[in-house]
């Protein structure tokens, strides 16, 4: 510090004086900076769906599940009641001409998974016509996994996430009567002819008597790519080796009869399914899971799934797996079906929420000897 600095000091004190901000040119510049910041913040808020009109997103979708089904902390927001399965998949190699995925080469891979009932109530009684699901997690030799969630209906009831949400709301039981408002359901169906058509197809396919004799379908289409780079649209399903028996007209009173029968069946001997890849032809819709593909489409039997054991949901088993339909492997890719992205997004919110919640045991207990 020398005396030579003093003129500069005076200059600086003027320059950084608060009053220096009040000149016209500085105020203009500040306004431009403020506006730019505000606009970026507004864009950010709009991107994050925090500004009205808010569209349906994964958070509001899962909020709707919680509003319709009530709070069930610790459980999946949909397909809440379930049991874990363990087994393996014996690939016969026939799928390799369609997909280069390791799982379709000949050989055996371990599989874990989950049987469940559709619906967000973990303690709900098993009922005839409950939609059943099988979710699988193929553990591939390179440490990777392939996951799929399938249902025992031939087509899905809605074609996109908005319709799924609207159908949830329309069929929500009324708080006073305990039954859905028939007007709401009627209005939904009037606006969704594809759902009317899908329900008619579902009615033509009787439900099976249990979990072990049910066919589970991917519903959504996927694209398989083989080692030559050829991409093929497919829908897959697992078809039971057990003979199909229709759902008896009078179901037992036992609230877990479907699960108990499955547990007894698997304890007796492993239950098996064939993994069938149905090949779509040009013109077969891949973006609408409510529309079935023609019955004469080529089907490739890719191998046998064996379910050898069942266990109640517990830490570290299927309870802690998110059966995200977009956990795929090289050689298996999503189609243009909008449900796939929506399922992946919503499952992630459901998984994140339940991961942070205290758990209570599942309604489904597995007792007796396993194999």
């Amino acid at each position: 510090m020398t005396r030579d600095d003093s003129p500069r000091k005076a200059d600086a004190s003027e320059r950084y004086d608060l009053r220096a901000l009040l000149t016209r040119s500085v105020l203009t510049r500040l306004a431009v900076i403020g506006l730019a910041t505000f606009l970026i913040a507004a864009c950010f808020a709009w991107t994050g769906n925090w500004l009205p009109p808010r569209h349906l997103d994964q958070t509001s979708m899962i909020d709707t599940f919680e509003a319709v089904n009530g709070p069930h902390p610790g459980f999946r927001r949909n397909h809440a009641k379930g049991v874990c399965l363990t087994g393996w998949f014996d690939s016969n190699g026939a799928g390799a001409r369609l997909s280069k995925a390791v799982v379709f080469g000949p050989g055996r891979v371990p599989v874990t998974g989950r049987f469940a009932l559709a619906g967000g109530m973990p303690l709900m009684p098993d009922r005839p016509n409950s939609v059943r699901s099988m979710a699988l997690n193929f553990e591939l030799p390179d440490g990777e996994v392939w996951r799929t969630g399938m249902n025992d209906i031939p087509v899905f009831v809605v074609k996109d996430a908005q319709a799924f949400h609207d159908q949830l709301v329309a069929t929500k039981p009324d708080a006073t009567t305990g039954k859905p408002d028939p007007e709401g359901a009627k209005a939904f169906l009037a606006a969704h002819p594809e759902t009317v058509a899908a329900l008619a197809i579902i009615k033509m396919h009787p439900f099976s008597s249990g979990f072990a004799d049910a066919t589970y379908n991917s519903l959504d289409a996927f694209r398989l790519t083989n080692s030559a780079g050829v991409s093929t649209p497919v829908r897959w399903s697992v078809q039971p080796v057990d003979a199909f028996a229709p759902e008896p007209p009078n179901s037992p009173d036992d609230k877990d009869y479907l699960f108990d029968a499955l547990i007894a069946r698997v304890h007796k001997a492993p239950a098996q399914w064939r993994l069938i890849l149905t090949i779509g032809q040009p013109g077969d819709p891949t973006n609408d899971a409510t529309i079935p593909w023609p019955a004469d489409r080529e089907r490739v039997d890719a191998g046998t799934l064996t379910v050898a054991g069942l266990e109640a949901e517990a830490p570290g088993n299927c309870r802690d797996i998110n059966f995200d339909p977009l956990v795929l492997r090289d050689g298996i890719a999503p189609s243009d079906d909008p449900l796939l992205s929506a399922r992946s997004a919503a499952y992630s919110v459901s998984f994140t929420r339940r991961a942070g919640e205290a758990k209570i045991p599942s309604a489904v207990h597995v007792v007796g000897g396993g194999t």
Binding site: P338, S341, S344, A345
Partner: protein, 80 residues
């Protein structure tokens, strides 16, 4: 005012590229978790872009602990 000591061109390009990428990541991130239809597409951008940013910064300044911890944290989320 004159800039006597500017950072080398490479550092400046890297700095502004990082600024643009990180801002883009913030937008893609909030857009991703609030869109059912674009979720799949945006996750497919978000994951490799996060790896790119993290590796660019780790490659240039391997001792930058703060950034490394931030992006290490992001990586946990990215594992889904």
């Amino acid at each position: 005012m004159t800039m006597l000591n500017r950072f080398p061109l490479f550092s400046r390009v890297l700095h502004w590229a990082m600024a643009a990428l990180i801002l883009a990541m913030l937008f893609i991130g909030v857009g991703m978790v609030s869109s059912l239809s674009s979720y799949q597409r945006l996750v497919a951008i978000h994951k490799p872009m996060g790896i790119l940013i993290r590796n660019s910064q780790a490659g240039v300044s391997p001792k930058s602990h703060i950034l490394r911890e931030i992006f290490g944290g992001f990586r946990i989320f990215a594992d889904g």
